[in-house]
Amino acid sequence: MRSVMCVVVVCVGVSAQTALAADKCLECHGTVGDKPSSLFTRDIHHLKGISCTGCHGGDASAEDMEKAMDRRAGFIGVPKGDDVSAVCARCHSNATTMAGFQSVLPTNQYVLLQSSVHGKLSISGKERIVQCTTCHNAHGIAKVTDPASPVYPVNAVATCARCHGDAKFMRLYNPSLPVDQLAKYRTSVHGVKNAAGDARTAQCASCHGSHDILSVKEVKSKVYPTNIPATCASCHSNAAYMAGYGIPTDQFEKYAKGVHGVALLEKHDLGAPACNNCHGNHGAMPPGVESISKVCGTCHVLNADLFSSSPHKKGFDELGKPECETCHGNHDIVAASNVLLGNFPGAVCSRCHSAQDREKGFVAAGVMRVLIDSLQRADDRARVLVDEAEQKGMEISEAKYKLRDVRQSRLETRTIVHAFSAEKLRETAGKGFATAAGISAEAEHAIDEYYFRRVGLGVATFSITVLAVSLYLYIRRLERKQRQAEAVHY
């Protein structure tokens, strides 16, 4: 019995030794107390049974140092520069190898990294800026889902900030790139949740990607303006993912239908705002109620200024109503047209203003609508008349040129609406009315001239015909007399 036990113990001991003997490197380096080996004991690769030689090469079973770290056994020493990532890629880019470990990880990280912005050459010119180990560490590599990993969502922010928050370092590559993203991020909803340990909230990699990070200026980048709405929507439109956060998930749907969405996503107008232009990107947070007009006002300057000095500003703030959004919406902004204005049911103004006591706002809304509609009719009428004169072949280029001014006046009235003053609108529209009236008069004059010419021709033709006929009769009579005179002679 004892001998069997001995054999078992020896066998176990031998096998244990053998198992440990499989990584003699770790055993030896561990006794020396070197940091990489102490980290490696917790490394996912070690736990999967891969020894130091998995990356460094050499003979893991050899007790002798020289035999273990023999170049002929494949020992490569400490890889430097791009060799580091090449080592990782030897397995991680090999689908067969990865399948052998029952891994479901992607195998394209290295390829993506090479074509990403981080894959560019560093200032030494000898290696890429970033290697796998830069973000994942070299020896204590943990799974992404492991809170110990530097690329665990909660930790990723600090990892990126190691370089991107270091002004001196970033200056070496892109001096104009800001280095305060982390600080801004911490003020955002995402940043606050992330600091509290929420691994589902957005962090650097959620929007910028991990291996495939491209510059914002590149069209394929996830954060290129036309791609940003889809990037944000990848979480914010996913009802299942967003469950528990208590915010709607239809913003992208609404945005895509609105003016800004159509402009950016369909017309590729880079002047149109994506999510980040109104909400901020690193410091993403919906703007406060009082500041909405300022945010919209970064582009819609005139409208915002007018609004801020209008009676609506005080009223809206007191009622806690969001500024621009109340009338125009936030995500599903409708293209502005005359129908928004007025004091009839269905107009935006009627939502608050009513006819009771001939309330001032109600009256003003009605007057403004009437003025804008009249100006449009005056413009249309002027255009129709100019077209008619042109069709009739009359020279009307000068009046046609002035039509631009009427159109400009119409655009200006749309802006001045935001002063919510019927007087101001009347003043702005006045110029348009005057010009349109002048144009219509000129065109009508040209059309009248057209008919005048025909009438004039009729009169002239009549007098010529009478003259011609009477001349003809005169000639006939004259010749008849001459013939009679001749007849008398003979």
Binding site: G393, E395, E398, L457, I464, A468, L471, Y474, L478, E479
Partner: protein
């Protein structure tokens, strides 16, 4: 009333012997025969020329002949000047009617052999006036400085440049440089209002003087009838009044054309823009233009275009000199060849003009 006219007449007669002229005029007779209708076309041509001079002078009061102002000044005339549209459209229409009337006049003279002795010089001056009339048309066409005119001038002067030896110098002289520019416009303006009118007036004076001195040409059949059975009418007042009646009708037609078919202005010329599609000269040059298109690019050793230009030049010269090589008509015989040649030319011109217009 009568005494005033009499007194005026006597005052002038005392100084220039008006009586001689009046008795001469009173004795003028116009033959009346089948072909008499053609007699009116010389007068109509004259009338149309006078209209051109009058409307031309009126246009001159508002037209500006530089490449930056020409187009706009015509726009100004058409829209801002009272009845400017009328004067301009009449001037443009009359140009075409004038050429048309002159062609009818010329062909009727040709077919009636009215060019025969002693009226050779009348024919020569008339043909030269026809060529100058075409020159008026070509130079005047450029003056609005619009797209069509610019390219038509380019093509036309290019063809002139094709003439061997003298072609290039002539082209540079016409264009005022190697290309069609504002300099060309200035030159054409000068030709149109000063040079050509001057030469034309001299030729016209000779032409009219000869017609008055020699009287109307009589067709050969008419000449052979005995004197007392010749039907005639006095020039003054019969023929003159009939002439005036015809002129009145032509004037009315012109007014109607100006109102119902106003002359276009088109777009301002832009030397850097490509030529618009379907560019072609005015109708009176069209038959030559179209003919050139049918000549192959190279015929033996001669360039097709040069051949075309030389052929037309030769044809024109022969036509000009017809009084000198048609001796049969001068001698009183009936030269059927002339009729055939004339018919061929008329049919050719009409056919190629229509081809050029519709193709």
């Amino acid at each position: 009333m009568k005494t005033i006219w009499n007194r005026l007449y006597a005052w002038i007669d005392e100084r220039v012997q008006l009586n001689d002229l009046v008795t001469f005029m009173a004795k003028k007779y116009v033959p009346v025969h089948r072909g008499s209708i053609w007699y009116y076309f010389g007068g109509v041509s004259l009338f149309l020329f006078i209209i051109q001079v009058v409307t031309g002078i009126l246009l001159l009061l508002y037209y500006k002949g530089s490449d930056s102002l020409a187009f706009e000044s015509i726009q100004f005339i058409m829209s801002k000047v009272t009845f400017g549209w009328l004067i301009r459209s009449i001037h443009s229409w009359t140009a075409n009617l004038f050429i048309f009337a002159v062609l009818i006049h010329m062909f009727s003279v040709f077919f009636e052999r009215a060019y025969r002795r002693p009226r050779e010089v009348t024919w020569l001056t008339g043909m030269l006036m026809l060529f100058i009339g075409l020159g008026f048309g070509f130079s005047g066409y450029l003056l609005p400085w619009n797209e069509l005119a610019f390219f038509a001038t380019k093509v036309g002067t290019d063809i002139a440049g094709v003439i061997p030896v003298v072609g290039k110098p002539i082209m540079i002289f016409l264009r005022g440089g190697p290309d069609v520019t504002g300099a060309t416009l200035s030159r054409f303006f000068g030709f149109h209002i000063a040079v050509l009118p001057g030469i034309f007036t001299v030729l016209l004076a000779i032409h009219l003087l000869l017609v008055q001195r020699q009287g109307m040409s009589q067709p050969q059949e008419f000449e052979s009838t005995p004197d007392d059975s010749k039907k005639t009418m006095p020039f003054f007042p019969n023929f003159l009044l009939r002439d005036l009646l015809f002129w009145l009708i032509v004037l009315n037609i012109l007014a109607m054309l100006a109102v119902f078919f106003p002359w276009e202005l088109g777009r301002k010329a832009d030397p850097f823009a490509p030529a618009p599609a379907g560019i072609r000269p005015e109708w009176y040059f069209l038959f030559m233009f179209q003919s050139l298109k049918y000549i192959p690019a190279r015929l033996w050793f001669i360039d097709g275009e040069i051949l075309g230009v030389l052929l037309f030049g030769a044809a024109g010269l022969l036509w000009l000199l017809v009084p000198f090589w048609d001796r049969k008509s001068s001698r009183g015989g009936r030269n059927r060849l002339i009729t055939y040649i004339g018919l061929f030319v008329v049919v050719y011109i009409i056919t190629f003009t229509l081809l050029g217009w519709f193709l």
